[in-house]
């Protein structure tokens, strides 16, 4: 078997050398590789080279793509990284998610967690980035989020493929008695041209895996890529058009029971009293059990089928204590306003903002108050998990974005060692950040303790899902600008208040860690934008409201993209400067940003006259390492405002799969437009008021605009893809509506002010 430790030390931690100077503490631990989790689960005749590659004697090549496939195409792109260097086509390989393992930690997810904008390449910023990558290793979080998967995988997964290929060649050279340099690879075989002899990878896999790892591997030049950089057929497409059972909700096990949950409609509140008698007597109901997790209190209903469980959940008659947060939306909003009046944490402070405003004439000041509501994720597949607790071990099947967290928290919940928990991660019917949480898995794990060893699939109703999310927090912002004589801004002062996503996630996912320092997500998308304004201050305040808030596609940038870019539009209008021109001037120090703005403007023919009743708005946000400009065109129709067309230009640095990237940019824009048009989660009596798609809907096909997308590769570092199209969508739409109607809408959703067709 492969001496994996050696291979991994030599090949996977090259990046560590660069940070050695900056990270003295724990450097040894950082260098020490995690064991290869595939060693434990090899089938007969299978050999593994590293945590990403398994090859069977029959030449079945399996690539592990250890990130959650929630639609973003990550399993295809990660597999392509390995396949590129292994020199096999994607149709030649099997792709698996693999087990929950620290070996699959995501370093990139935390790398941009420091208080530096993406474009800040100062020594300090780079050192912190590297350091946080090391923290990523210490936490060993196998997570999918932060649009980080391709950035995290790009080096290590290509290296995994290259190392395996080189070892296969070495083994074949030995077997054939020829020099390795005379061997070539193609389609899963190794060829010796001179003799015409060839061996499949499978034929030499066992011998290769037992060999010493190469001292160094050379990765292909970009110019030689056959798969990367080109649109690939998604590996999951056939299963998804044939209704194959690939989602958590499709899991079926012998002797399986079904269940659902009824959690307190007031977050964290315990039941005052509960009458379960009617529910317990209903046909098909087996047992109702109390549940208590890091997410709060409620009941689990165990039944013969899902429908019986749903009916019984409805029949539970429970009263709940008052919540620890204000009961209604107006009172919650007051807490945000009080927070905004406090000092907060300054995350950007260029020049001297106070002095710049001190002598500003009234007519040179632009002021605006912005607000956005709480939002649910509303993934198409409601939360669910299947669990079996038998002989002291827990197996859990679910779509999730953080398998190692699911493993740890479920182990704690049922009181067993982590090693006794097997997490089987399925495809997920949407994630958008919701499945970073673990509540669905915890409920199933606890209910599995009550079934005498039988597996149970626990499916939430849509109502339960909508009312028990970790929401995108509501936020408010106060914005001021001082314009110069030429109409350009000379000073901006931006302050926003919002409940803290990080504090919320720590309470649920890492309850032993207290939040330290300011939460950068409150100002993300505002403090880190590539505009140079001489006096520029951005301040964030965490508002103490404990309704669960979490990661919602693009997190803080989903809030501040709207605030910042709506306000930039207001500045341009007040200064009588074209929006594209103003941005080009303010972004002059960041050529990648300028090129994105120029590209999207050219695509849309910005500046050309439009027919009456049509108008456009633009916005730009740098988030998760990608520079994205969007222009939205709206039309006034008798039925309301119609979004006709959207142009998107995005600089992602290196585009690994242009087809998937285009699909993600459009997807993320529709996600943002859906929220901007009509979504809000509101509270009354301590409970969420919305419950299903009739009162929390999203864009439908008849509302969907035509999209035109350009992918640029100008910046020298790779950016993320899954979230970056969301932040500019809402402001571009609101700015277009201003251009169309003269109404400046600063509070979402827009449907509170205008009607959409």
């Amino acid at each position: 078997m492969a001496s994996v430790g050696k291979i991994a030390r030599r090949t996977f931690l090259i990046g560590a050398a660069a940070v050695a100077g900056g990270v003295a503490v724990g450097y040894y631990y950082y260098r020490k590789p995690f064991p290869n989790p595939l060693e434990a689960e090899l089938g007969k005749g299978e050999a593994t080279f590293n945590p990403y590659v398994k090859i069977g004697a029959d030449n079945t090549i399996t690539i592990v793509a250890p990130r959650a496939e929630m639609g973003q195409g990550i399993s295809t792109t990660l597999a392509a990284m390995v396949a590129e260097e292994l020199d096999v086509g994607l149709d030649r390989v099997k792709v698996e998610h693999g087990p929950a393992s620290h070996a699959y930690y995501n370093a990139a997810i935390l790398q941009e967690g420091g208080p530096f904008a993406f474009f800040d390449e100062s020594m300090t910023a780079q050192a912190v980035r590297s350091g946080l990558g090391v923290v990523g290793k210490f936490l060993a979080l196998q997570g999918t989020g932060g649009s980080a998967s391709t950035r995290d995988g790009f080096d290590k997964m290509r290296q995994a493929g290259a190392v395996a290929r080189q070892m296969l060649i070495a083994a074949a050279a030995q077997e054939l008695g020829v020099a390795a340099a005379d061997l070539k690879t193609a389609d899963g075989s190794i060829l010796h041209k001179a003799s015409g002899k060839s061996l499949t990878y499978g034929a030499v896999a066992a011998a290769a895996a037992a060999m010493a790892s190469p001292d160094e591997v050379r990765l292909k030049d970009k110019a030689d890529w056959k798969l990367l950089g080109k649109p690939q057929k998604r590996i999951d497409m056939l299963a998804k058009v044939t209704g194959a059972p690939i989602f958590g909700i499709d899991v079926r096990l012998p002797d399986m029971l079904y269940g659902t949950v009824k959690m307190s409609p007031r977050f964290w509140a315990k039941p005052v009293k509960a009458d379960l008698s009617r529910a317990e007597k209903m046909p098909g109901v087996i047992k109702i059990v109390p549940l208590e997790t890091n997410y709060g209190h409620g009941f689990g209903i165990i039944a013969d089928n899902t429908w019986a469980a749903f009916k019984a959940a409805e029949a539970i008659d429970a009263q709940w204590f008052d919540p620890e947060y204000p009961l209604g939306s107006a009172a919650i909003s007051d807490v945000l306003k009080q927070a905004l009046a406090t000092k907060g944490s300054v995350m950007r402070d260029n020049g001297d903002v106070d002095t710049a405003f001190a002598d500003a004439p009234r007519e040179r000041i632009v002021e605006a108050d912005y607000a956005v509501p709480y939002l649910a994720h509303a993934t198409m597949e409601p939360m669910n998990a299947t669990a079996q607790f038998k002989d002291g071990a827990l197996d859990i099947w679910c779509g999730n974005q953080a398998p190692t967290l699911v493993r740890q928290l479920c182990a704690n919940a049922v009181g067993i060692e982590q090693g006794k928990v097997n997490v089987h991660t399925t495809f997920m019917g949407g994630g958008f950040g919701r499945r970073v949480e673990t509540d669905y898995a915890l409920c199933a794990a606890l209910m599995a303790k009550e079934t005498g060893g039988r597996p149970i699939k626990v499916t939430w109703t849509r109502e339960e899902d909508m009312r028990h999310d970790a929401y995108r927090p509501a936020a408010i912002g106060k914005f001021q600008a001082r314009l110069g004589d030429d109409g350009m801004p000379v000073a901006v002062d931006m302050k926003m208040a919002s409940p803290s996503v990080i504090a919320g996630m720590l309470r649920r996912l890492f309850p032993s860690i207290s939040p330290l320092g300011p939460d950068k997500t409150i100002v993300d998308g505002a403090y880190d934008q590539p505009y140079s304004i001489p006096n520029y201050r951005v301040t964030g305040v965490a508002a103490p409201v404990s309704i669960p808030v979490g990661s919602w596609r693009s997190v803080g940038s989903s809030v501040n993209g709207f605030f910042h870019e709506g306000f930039m539009d207001e500045i341009a209008i007040a200064g009588k400067i074209d929006q594209v021109e103003m941005r080009k001037r303010l972004m002059a120090a960041y050529p990648s940003a300028v090129k994105v703005v120029e590209k999207v403007a050219a695509m849309a023919k910005w500046g050309e006259a439009l027919p009456a009743g049509k108008a456009r708005g633009m916005a730009f946000t740098l988030s998760f390492g990608s520079w994205v400009g969007e222009i939205v065109q709206v039309a006034d129709t008798p039925a309301g405002i119609r979004i006709e067309k959207v142009w998107i230009a995005a600089d992602v640095g290196t585009a690994l799969d242009p087809g998937i990237i285009e699909a993600q940019l459009i997807s993320a824009a529709i996600y943002g437009l859906s929220a901007a048009m009509g979504q809000e989660i509101t509270f009354a009596d301590g409970m969420v008021e919305q419950s299903n798609f009739h009162d929390f809907d999203a864009m439908r096909i008849f509302q969907c605009p035509v999209f035109e997308v350009a992918i640029l590769e100008n910046f020298h570092r790779m950016g993320g893809v899954g979230e970056v199209g969301t932040p500019p969508a809402a402001p571009a739409l609101a700015n277009a509506i201003f251009a169309l109607t003269g109404k400046r809408i600063r509070t979402l959703p827009l449907s509170k002010t205008v009607a959409f067709a």
Binding site: M70, G71, G73, R234, D236, M237, A239, K240, V241, T242, G243, A244, P245, I246, F247, I249, D250, R252, Y258, R278, M282, P283, N305, T306, W307, K311, A378, T379, M380, E381, P382, F427, G429, G430, G431, F432, T459, R462, E463, G659, A663, I666, S667, A668, A669, I670, Y671, S674, N692, F693, H694, D697, A698, M699, R700, I701, F702, C704, V706, F707
Partner: protein, 163 residues
């Protein structure tokens, strides 16, 4: 509530050309009969109130939201995503979906495809307005609508060409 008193009653359903004898509360929605009792997990649970279309199946060729149709009211042959084609021999709509690379998370696509199949059975060459009308009840949170539209048009061409 009727459910409290009702016992399961025996009934026979034809699903994807196969007969199933089941014992179910007649109020149980067809979706849960298909998924939990028969084991057809192709149709998906999304909302339970016929608002998202993920559960769309055909009854005698008509698209229905199986999450809100009590099984006791079903009379007719049921077809699900699992019955329109196989991995080896795809329905033209599935083939078009594959070629256009429509799906992202894929969860709504069984319902989208069943709505599209019904549309094309009715209208050989649907206009954009026909597509809007037929597909408006099928929600997609990944925003695959532009590709759904082009795939429906491609499927229409594939069907006309007799593929």
């Amino acid at each position: 509530m009727a459910v409290d008193d009702n016992k399961g009653i025996p009934m026979r359903l034809t699903v994807d050309g196969q007969s199933f004898d089941i014992d179910a509360d007649p109020d149980m929605p067809l979706l849960w009969v298909l998924r939990d009792l028969i084991g057809k997990t192709g149709p998906k649970f999304g909302c339970g109130i016929a608002a998202c279309g993920a559960c769309t199946v055909h009854v005698d060729g008509q698209p229905v939201r199986s999450c809100s149709l009590p099984v006791g009211q079903v009379s007719g042959a049921i077809k699900t995503i699992e019955g329109i084609g196989t991995a080896g021999k795809l329905h033209p709509v599935q083939q078009a979906w594959l070629e256009e690379q429509v799906a992202q998370c894929g969860y709504c696509q069984a319902g989208q495809i069943m709505s599209a199949v019904a549309l094309l059975d009715e209208v050989a060459n649907p206009s954009d307005a026909d597509i809007d009308n037929a597909m408006g009840g099928n929600l997609c949170r990944c925003g695959t609508y532009p590709k759904i539209r082009s795939a429906i048009k491609k499927a229409a061409a594939l069907k006309t060409a007799g593929l």
